[in-house]
Symmetry: C2
Subunit: 316 residues, 2 copies
């Protein structure tokens, strides 16, 4: 499949399309974290987004683009994470059902959140094959259109609107750090950085334990992970056919961090900024704190991807 050529106009159109449906989230900063990082940091707070994460942007954008082409009777995805909630919110907003395929061992708190937003859950065995089979069956039976949580050009463009808003508010950022799992957020962030007037470097942040994106950029092909036991549960997935080419073209640097560094960064943000962020979001700050030499005092944006955590199971 030939990869799509993205243009600044496509990102601008995405912003216009999703604008009325998503929160324009605030940008926060902290003197103390600036001191620790040796650089001025600007946090784009997608933890305050509807549904609790940036995922609403991509879900909404993909859904609205589909609707431009033909009536969409329903949507379906497989996700046990933030995309499940996001697609439920997006579908509810336009008045169609969202079918969410989740592994039967998904935490009750995640299922409850999907229910809150009107998503319809189908449980399946906890394997990728079972998830894909279930989604295909639902699609056949109900006419629901499948939307992938990350590996979709329209999802990726939607995710890029967070960084586009950040760059509008703080135009002279010199780099922006985003966590990388499936690559939708980092891909969209890289497009937004590339399409801005000033030079702004997109930087990926990844747990060392699931460093498939780092290795993929090195080897030139999509790598997988031999383990998935990171506290950053949103980053256990791997790159896809749509996200990998964008990362290959626009991202030069991915900083990898240890589990303890993720937890320390998460705690710092909770204690000092008084905001609730999830471990996957803390990976970006952990990367900045790990390698101050690489950041080198540059004016740095950080995409705080989400704030969905189980308060009964905190890592500290």
């Amino acid at each position: 499949m030939a990869s799509l050529t993205f243009t600044p106009e496509m990102l601008a159109a995405a912003r216009e399309l999703v604008g009325p449906h998503v929160h324009h989230t605030p940008v926060m900063h902290s003197r103390l974290l600036d001191q620790l990082a040796g650089a001025p940091l600007f946090f784009k707070c997608e933890n305050f987004q509807r549904g609790g994460s940036y995922k609403l942007r991509g879900a909404t954008h993909a859904l609205l683009r589909l609707q431009e082409q033909a009536p969409v009777p329903a949507v379906v995805t497989h996700s046990s994470g933030n995309f499940a909630q996001a697609l439920s919110v997006a579908a509810q907003a336009v008045g169609i059902p969202a079918h969410i395929v989740m592994p039967e061992n998904a935490p009750a708190v995640k299922k409850a959140a999907v229910h809150t937003y009107g998503g319809r859950i189908t449980e399946c065995a906890p394997t990728l094959e079972a998830r894909e089979d279930a989604a295909a069956r639902i699609s056949e039976e109900t006419g629901a259109v499948f939307i992938h949580p990350s590996n979709d050009p329209m999802v990726m463009l939607g995710q890029g609107t967070a960084c586009a808003e950040l760059l509008e508010e703080v135009p002279d950022l010199e780099c922006v750090v985003a966590p990388v799992g499936g690559g939708g957020l980092l891909g969209g962030t890289a497009l937004a950085c590339t399409f801005t007037d000033n030079a702004c470097e997109p930087i990926g942040a990844e747990p060392l334990r699931v460093d498939d994106a780092y290795r993929s950029l090195q080897s030139g092909r999509i790598e997988s992970n031999s383990r998935t036991d990171t506290v950053a549960d949103g980053l256990r997935t791997v790159l896809g056919s749509h996200t990998f080419p964008v990362l290959k073209q626009y991202v030069n640097t991915i900083i990898r961090v240890e589990e303890a560094e993720i937890i320390t960064a998460m705690r710092l943000v909770w204690e000092r900024m008084k905001i609730v962020i999830e471990p996957s979001s803390a990976v970006a700050l952990a990367a900045v704190l790990k390698d101050p030499g690489y950041i080198g005092g540059r004016k740095t944006g950080i995409i705080v991807s989400g704030g969905n955590v189980d308060l009964g199971k905190l890592p500290f």
Copy 2:
């Protein structure tokens, strides 16, 4: 001592004086919490204030007023809570020492926070008498001026600037709920509500276990508490000679809440609004959720007093 007559001009002057020294904190809202409360809620987020609580406002105001009268070589207070940090921040900003008397059994995390902001800690036995003695001795030895954490007209006026900002941003609020411990915040909030052009009712929120303010308004004299074992550790103190008259004059209603209601409200805010608030702040939301009949759908402000919690000792 005749109590001071407060005027709108005094509150306006307090805002002008502290403005350059404190954060103008954001006002947040949440659709889901609106639904639960059956009323539109506007949260004034003093958890984002410097030092982590609204206390900076009163500390700064009292200190700057003192400096208008004569040079202040140093300040001293006794507090194991947010006022200790606040006075340290305020004194550091004007370049004088802050002496903080703390009971020797105060949590290490609180001592560390005071150190962060340059406060000088003197430990004493954990009794009120020992605290007052230690503060008096420091005052004598160093010339430090004593500032009480709540029972001081200038502290109370400073605390009122939070509600004044809120009412400027959301002028048609019909009531504002603030937690009550020593009465500085509720007193200042009541003044701000009284001095606004629209009718706006100040409402106190208090843990049932330390309901001295509720009982004081009933009996007409300052009552004490027979127990202090509430999770809302900032509200264990009682009213004072300066705060009680203001509450008696301007506050008609104090809603009392159970410990479990405080913890539920705190968890709701963390989970749904993605912000870190301390138990004492959750008391205000707990009061709104406890008595929707009393709120009656009115447009309601909530003063989120602070976000200083020990993440290692969460109540959930």
